[in-house]
Symmetry: D3
Subunit: 208 residues, 6 copies
């Protein structure tokens, strides 16, 4: 009844495509300040929009009894350019995600199991802390120091999302004690005692 | 030992504060293109960064056997200005979130219970579909039509996050059939038959 | 009189150039989340900033009696990175641009000939409709469903501009009926009857 | 058949609304760096999304034989926050839009009548010029000096759009000669002769 | 000779003004996620674009022998909305700006007197350090931990600029030890010993 | 005491890296609308975050007795993608930076030696001028015409920063008189007399 072909040109805009819909990361291409290069749309399959890594518990058999499983652009190529990413957080009893920041994103955490004590500290040095139970959400504004601690008797699990495909993760202790920054310099810029610094460098693999 | 007071001015920058850390929504103030006005920082308490509404199952006793519980800026004032928000999705057996878009955000869904069949359609009219189990994540690029359907025998639950504090939600059926757009106009712009339109208008409360 | 050469270094900043002025698309290079790669400035000519395709009427000899002639970044390389693009809309008598969205841009339409009935529907399902005559402009906010219909006896023409070089275009009918999404799934996510779906799939070339 | 009411809560998200869809300017409220305050959505009518001022020819009975009729956020409240605006340009025979910039937007011009000679100059001082006929489009990158001149025997008309609701408009001659900047200062920063400056100050209403 | 009045309407666009040029902060109005409200343009004077506070040495008579004099939007109203701000840094001999971040901005430091040893640590825990002499510039990427230390025998001075009018400032030591976060919690999230924590809380005025 | 290895996976996120921390320009790669490609993080050294070119006086032995030494992304690769850049300004006695704009950035100037008279002109043609002494700062909003003139008896020096890594620089006189734009066209779009134009073309190297 209706002639079909004359309609198609309306939709099939002349290539090249414009990357307006999505930009699944092509890790073999150059990166730009806004993220990875885009795979050609014709090479993108539905499965690339799915990330299954958040289904399994992370390995919490470590000193912090915690695991963060990221689904950032580096692991979940489809979020590249879309302004969002996620991670799974596992906290065994006694577990802790030490004080850290995400330099490039705000974080929104939703507890799916257990109890988590969490908090962040503002630029005015005011702490904002809360005890979160299953289903509770908490938001941590961009770039501010924050932490999560298991506050219950069982493993706690949370789904966290970020306002960037590449939020970054800077754990204060690792920034200070897991590299070769000299102990006198660390003393100078943190007021910590040398013994304290050397003790933590030993734990975290730092030298100097 | 150390003189304390001379150090404080370094931190206590002269007010007024700059809203750089966060901007908890003040719903009584004016809105700007980027969101709600900010509450004064001195009036903000830790509990405002916590949202507990995602802990309880939504009421799925409706025709779509589904419920969306939003934690957008309108409900969760602390996400205002932070580039992120969340929601809980409950899908009873047989439940469906009908075809819809978020005009202002990409969505990242993580299944926390059950099985969900989901998909989106690109500007090139290509469908990208997947079956998601507990722990699976899927990303839906900004502004594109997508849906979620319970694909298992039990209620499915998902935590969804968005790349905007106010992602918007436009359900195609409601946009078409739940208002007074005239049936001839809808026919004209959708190619649907009048009987079909009138049938759905009746279901969804539309007139005309 | 004035010594010329010493002044030149002020202007001729050392290369490489910074792409600050413009970024004419190089379709042979990689794409980033923000658009196409830039041609080298030395290879860009004045004619690349001109697009002549909007001068000729589009072919409206099709089922919707309409034609959209895009000048997006994919067709008009010079708008890449500049936050704007355009298109020409031709609507023969009886013509219609079916319900659609632009996932990545707001649209501003200016009627240059004839009469157009247009409208968009908000997230709150409220329709905003108007009859537009020559010289009238209407703005369609980003990502919302909208349509344009010829409301006069002669061909209507409009110049439309977009707040993105790559606004995207998702026509609801084509997203639903011009691909292989299964009829039961479409029923499920749209409440449409199977007969209606099959009828439109036949018209628009879909299967399943 | 279907129970209607239980479905509605899915759509009718609890107020306050989130300003995600649009932000029609409320000129009585405060302005933010991103634009005007938003009118309450319940007070916004369809007619506010329509601007009729571009339909009538501007008055070109002036020294430049030209008129610019803006539909910026200040005149067309609905474009506030939407990243786009427009204007109509009328150029009588001999008419000119003198050298100017838009500090906050790129411009895309489409000729709808007559012939226009236009050009812009890059940071590298390279001119990019073209002769534009009906239907031709040209893009002027953000912040760069550009001009439009009638290059035909009849009045030329163009529809111009901008990548900002408030593009700004700085005409070089008016910036220099239509205020009280002192003649010696203008000499110093432009190398122009005092006689030339005084002559143009007289024409354009400047003093000093 | 030239008729003046007909030209003026081209320039004097109908008010209200659009805030496109600048948005000098009105501290008495509401704040938005992007910054302070704008003063009316007619009330803005030239002197508001000038900030004289960077001319005088800050008071370094404190435990860190350092002073930061900010010219952020809170102090220098004219930078509101303009994407930039500045500060003066004074480091007496032995002075230090302790480890800190700017949650919302990158920093660019230019030494104007003396010698400064500075560094930042990346998300990968890699330190990037340098010794900076008069005229040397160093950039510190957004949100990353960094420090500055006087590395010469005389007072060092630097002009620092930021990519935001409200960069924020979070000094790690003050975030940890200048408030009432409990010592056991700090132990838990930093691995520091209780004695160390209590010692620094005493110095910096914290409790708990 | 603490087992070290199990902790490391928390930090050492699987490569590829995400470019979240910084994006030092790789001038050999393609450019995107937002800037240069990023060097691989493993190839970036600390010295790349330091720029020493601002330490030496620029050569002011030219007709404007001024020199601008840029540290834009093209010269200082580390600022690429970080939203900031800088430059040094030297103004010998009698020196001037002629009227110019930065199409893509606001500018913040801090005087470090001497006296500078500076000003900008708004879209409303209002001049905002000031006399700046050592330590005074002035901000010039994006895209607006501005100038700097030595207003003292000694060489004046300033550190200027910009809200973009690639602010651009368009000097009005050079845009008009240092290329081959025809004299009649310049007359037409500036109202300047032909003699004046020809005189300045001769000085600045233009033809036509």
């Amino acid at each position: 009844m209706f002639p079909l072909l004359p309609l198609l040109p309306l939709l099939l805009l002349p290539s090249p495509s414009s990357a307006a819909d999505f930009c699944v990361a092509d890790f073999s291409g150059p990166t730009s300040p806004l993220g990875f290069s885009c795979k050609k749309e014709s090479a993108v399959t539905a499965s690339e929009f799915v990330f299954s890594g958040l289904g399994a518990a992370g390995n919490t058999n470590n000193i912090i009894k915690a695991a963060v499983t990221p689904a950032f652009a580096g692991q979940f190529a489809a979020v590249n350019g879309l302004g969002i990413s996620a991670a799974r957080l596992d906290l065994a009893p006694g577990g802790v995600v030490p004080l850290h920041t995400h330099p490039a994103a705000s974080e929104l955490l939703v507890v799916t199991q257990g109890v988590i004590s969490a908090g962040f500290i503002s630029s005015a040095n005011t702490p904002y802390t809360a005890t979160l139970r299953k289903g509770d959400a908490m938001v941590f504004p961009q770039g501010l120091l924050h932490y999560q601690v298991n506050a219950g008797g069982i493993t706690a699990v949370a789904i966290v999302s970020f306002s960037s495909p590449s939020p970054g993760l800077q754990i204060t202790d690792f920034a200070l004690f897991a590299n070769n920054l000299s102990t006198p310099l660390i003393q100078k810029v943190t007021f910590l005692d040398a013994e304290q610094i050397l003790k933590l460098k030993k734990v975290l693999g730092g030298s100097g």
